[in-house]
Amino acid sequence: MASASPIMSPERKSGRIGERFARCAARGAGALVTYVTAGYPAPADTLDVLLRVAEAGADVIEFGIPFSDPLADGPTIQRASHRAIAAGATLAGSLEALAEFRAHADTPVVVFTYLNPLLAYGVERFIRDSHAAGADGVLLTDLPVGGDVALERAFEESPLDLVRLLAPTTPPDRAARIAARSRGFLYYISRTGVTGATDTLRAEIGREIDAIRPHAAAPIAVGFGISTPAQAVEAARAADGVVVGSALIDALDRGGTSGLVEFVGSLRKALDAAQR
């Protein structure tokens, strides 16, 4: 780890997400955050995919509720989202699968989605039901810090950790505010662009994260474009954890659940081997 585990904000206890990051930090390994699309390939597969990803070594699962117009996502997650919706995936059904998962596993789960499905479901109802189903946090790609004060307050006062995103384009004063407000972890977007695999990580990431770290109330995970164990190790060297998304969907497409398990296992192994 580039530095000691950050201090959690005093008014909030560190939840399951913070504990998991702390455990990784204690053994000197980067935390592995993995994204899966709920209801993909089909709603009946959701529980199995969650269980296998957890067993294969994910520290935190980003549980993606599919939205028809995922404008922060690249082709892989777009396709997975559309297929899941076409196969009948819903927020309500996804939360049921999450509750079943929670009966078997304690891997922290962050619900990852866009605002509109939550608004349609009802924000208060979502907070209540997702917490009851065992969700630990929520991440909304289209709710930037300061974007909707009332909504942000509703999430911040809830038992869920509101995970915030920071981009390479975010100016320093705003970055400090975002870092101070993010709970669970702080999601550092590695590059401008949408989600999806890339070949290289920008060399400046380490320096950028070091600049943010003094302001961060939670551990920092780097995501967007991380698709190989080597890239995961490189990103984890700069931060406290890595987020791998589209590459998991690709692995699932290529090799089914066994391909998925193998890929997550390779990420886990690489991160553990690189521990310092």
């Binding site: 939205f67 028809s68 404008l71 509109n116 349609a120 930037p144 384009t169 100016p171 977007i189």
Partner: protein, 408 residues
Amino acid sequence: MAEQFTATPPALELGRFGRFGGRYVPETLIAALDELAAAYDEARRDEGFFAEFDALLRDYVGRPTPLYRAARLGEAAGGITVYLKREDLNHTGAHKINNALAQILLARRMGKRRIIAETGAGQHGVATATVCALFGLDCVVYMGAEDARRQALNVFRMELLGAQVRVVESGSRTLKDATNEAIRDWVTNVGDTHYIIGSVVGPDPYPRMVRDFQSVIGREARAQILGAEGRLPAAVVACVGGGSNAMGIFHAFIPDEEVRLVGVEAAGAGIESGRHAATLAAGRPGVLHGSLSFLLQDDAGQVAEAHSISAGLDYPGVGPEHAYLRESGRAEYVSVTDEEALDAFRELARTEGIIPALESAHAVAYVLREGRRWRDSGPVVICLSGRGDKDVAQVAEAYGPGGPEVGG
């Protein structure tokens, strides 16, 4: 002339129209939106910006556009006085050029070398390609595959003007999906790229900025009707997809409480059929493309596909200020079907020798259907937002081999 643009938006906080509007975008875009809002605020106070904009509107676009009294159309609408605000006579054939021109001036102030745009009917894409040619900037236009098919002529026009047209195959393959792709491009290339949104939609500052750039329509029309009739109109009628021509013509009339502001949405095959684009009539509040407004969506919050014969109205969202004007009661929103719009398309051609855009034909259709109610209360102004050359092939297809006499 900068004072024309300083009208305070009807907003409780910047970027909001009542509860609507806002900035619901990925974090990556926040800095670019801040930069754009700052550049716009600076330009608003700069006489030089408006001197350049006004000169181009006059010498390049051909403004002011006429307010034309359409006597035979008025007869056909039940003996009323109807005026057409002739945005179809603008260079490139629609009101879209007003906004594209102002935004490219802003892009140059910001030092952006690359321009992207989305387009539905192709009119905004053509306008953007045109101003990019004028200023020598790179231009990429996203267009849904379905729209590229039904507006093939506009695809060719954009390419002729030097733009690259990227055909979007995802989702419903229409304006919504083209907008998704344009936003994804912007997120990726935000450093050197300006996104010229074509309507009063998207995150702040776009809805208020595009409205301001289009408000020249209403300022001219208001002065022209006062000159011609010595009084304000009973009603101002405009079609609404995203709603930029409607906001443009409504804006100057908002303080005139006696003037009814009527937005006409596309009812497609009929609202009860579920195949329509009448967002304000049948949608619920939701977030799409960066702002909170009305939205066609299912119970789970998935965005529904819109349906309209008119590619420019075929959009499941609507500008947030329209949502606000509807909720506040200042404007009313109605709808007409594909069939009514086709009838109006032909009626205007036959009565006035003017072939309107299918979008604008929706506003004409509403006045043909309901205009007689204003017979005793004053003239009606229709925003004829664009010309119909681009639609002729599609209308011929809709009429079938029997020609326009069949089904009439």
